[in-house]
Symmetry: C2
Subunit: 323 residues, 2 copies
């Protein structure tokens, strides 16, 4: 199932969105425009606006307000990517050199602030108070989630509970907000809104688990995200958490010691091998599939229609993607 | 005239503000709390909340809404300081090591995002739609102003017009917003709101010109801001702009060449000497005093009262401060 076939019920809306999104970044400052054009060229998968549009369509009709919501979340998402690349010292994004690599950290920080404020301005201008309520809470949760991860990563002491807290905040909160905003833009039925919220949370968690699995088995060719990147940054994610608790204390200590001083491709490979051998990936897949099913189940109350089918297919797409 | 005597008409309100501000940064994430406590310890001059409170008092009565506004602007200001230190690679802030120096860039970026979202959440929760309208526009202007400065600084081609555009966006816009928000929180008289806005813009521009003058003649002892910092970063501000246009083309080219390759304390001193000799500081002071008078004149329509007197004294404080 490809993203373009999933997008079919809202194909025209997605075109409209793309043009609104481009316009939303325009600025009188040349440098801002230049960086904005570079961002547009990088072309992400646009999963977040897709979610907003599909959620709106599944609960009613896509409106101008839906488009404002889609633009808001994509601007916010882009802002966090630009800031994340500073946070992670990343030099690649979607196969292109990252903003901080091309223009240095200072421009990346300011550009992120600019994009975030542009998104919020759109909601303010549209008087979408309910969007703002959700989105400001989301920005807070995303930054807290990242900060919690950084702190825990330093101490190498992430257990499964902490892992879920981190990914619920840093990743799932935005997908949750996409679904809520989409639903709010097209229905006043609170049962629908709550169903879409549950769907968004479960999808978001499955999405991040998949991301973390891909770090152990993904291909670096398609989107330029190298395998083992998390390991190099000493990030402990679900596959490794499971593997570590499946072995003896001394074996786990040895792996932790290796992670602490990681410095070569060989040691990265050794950790990947350790995780594979101890069923870390299989376990993470099992948990991910549970969340994927939760996401689909949440849609039970939503009326059957093309958009709902697409939301179900999107879950399958997310958990079966290879990059 | 000291800040504490200027604050007299709103002394109790300022105490209330301080306690609300502290509470506003609380988080369940330990690292966030730790950095927040560090920020509180750094203690800024709190000119922005002071402006909000005095503007409210000058136009009416300080209310809960005024306090939300004061908290919002100080959180936003703190967020931009934290991001600015990343942008400027600064290792000191208010005499303390900067957040990025203690915790690295990544934490500074995320902490800035966190503080900004907390500020916006307070306005959202209070349903202060008018505050949000002003503040999101301000965040946009501040980041655009900084980006314009970076771009122009690279080319070393800042003229007086560009300089005013940059400082109106990067500095004056927030002081303007403080005054608008304060006024909006206590009056519906649009003449008062517009007077406070004019006051804020003029004060903001005078404030930044003073900052730029201090870079040429300030003392580094009090707040740890070293003299010549802008010059080291090749930032061309009003004193240098004026000096450069007062000399022959070849003399100006020599100074530009020196600035381009600046690398020693001697060359910094040479540029400071050049600016002094060519009346750069005297000219900047003259322009600054013009804006200071504009700020005071803007208050003509505001009823005479203690708070108005304080706003006038604040102008004098800003232009005569030594750090």
């Amino acid at each position: 199932m490809s993203l373009s076939s999933i997008s079919k019920p809202i194909h025209n809306d997605l075109e409209t969105f793309n043009s609104i999104f481009k316009t939303s970044m325009k600025s009188n400052v040349g440098l801002v425009d230049l960086v904005a054009k570079y961002i547009i060229k990088q072309k992400g998968k646009k999963i977040r606006p897709l979610l907003v549009l599909l959620s709106a369509k599944a609960c009613g009709v896509v409106s101008e307000r839906t488009h404002r919501g889609a633009t808001l979340v994509e601007l916010l998402h882009t802002a966090t990517l630009v800031h994340d690349d500073v946070v992670d010292n990343a030099d690649q994004r979607r196969g292109f050199p990252s903003i901080n690599a091309v223009w240095k950290n200072k421009i990346a920080v300011l550009m992120g602030d600019y994009l975030l404020s542009r998104g919020l301005m759109i909601a303010v201008e549209g008087k979408d108070f309910d969007f703002l309520e959700n989105i400001t809470q989301t920005v807070k949760r995303m930054s807290e989630g990242e900060l919690l991860q950084i702190k825990k990563t330093r101490k190498l002491d992430i257990d499964e509970g902490t892992y879920f807290r981190i990914i619920a905040d840093k990743t799932a909160s935005l997908l949750e907000t996409c679904c809520i905003i989409g639903a709010l833009s097209s229905t006043q039925n609170s049962e629908y809104v709550s169903a879409m919220q549950k769907y968004g949370v479960a999808l978001g968690i499955a999405f991040q688990i998949k991301d973390d699995i891909l770090d152990y088995e993904g291909s670096s060719k398609v989107f330029g995200k190298p395998i083992g990147g998390d390991i190099r940054e000493k990030k402990i994610t679900l596959p490794l958490i499971h593997a570590l608790r499946s072995v003896t204390k001394s074996e786990a200590s040895a792996i932790r010691a290796l992670l602490k001083k990681i410095n070569s491709k060989n040691s990265v490979n050794e950790i990947i091998e350790f995780v594979r051998k101890n069923n870390g990936i299989a376990y993470a897949e099992e948990v991910m599939n549970r969340y994927a099913n939760d996401a689909k189940d949440a849609l039970a109350v939503i009326p059957d229609a093309e958009a709902k089918t697409s939301l179900i297919q999107l879950v399958d797409f997310v958990v079966s993607r290879t990059s």
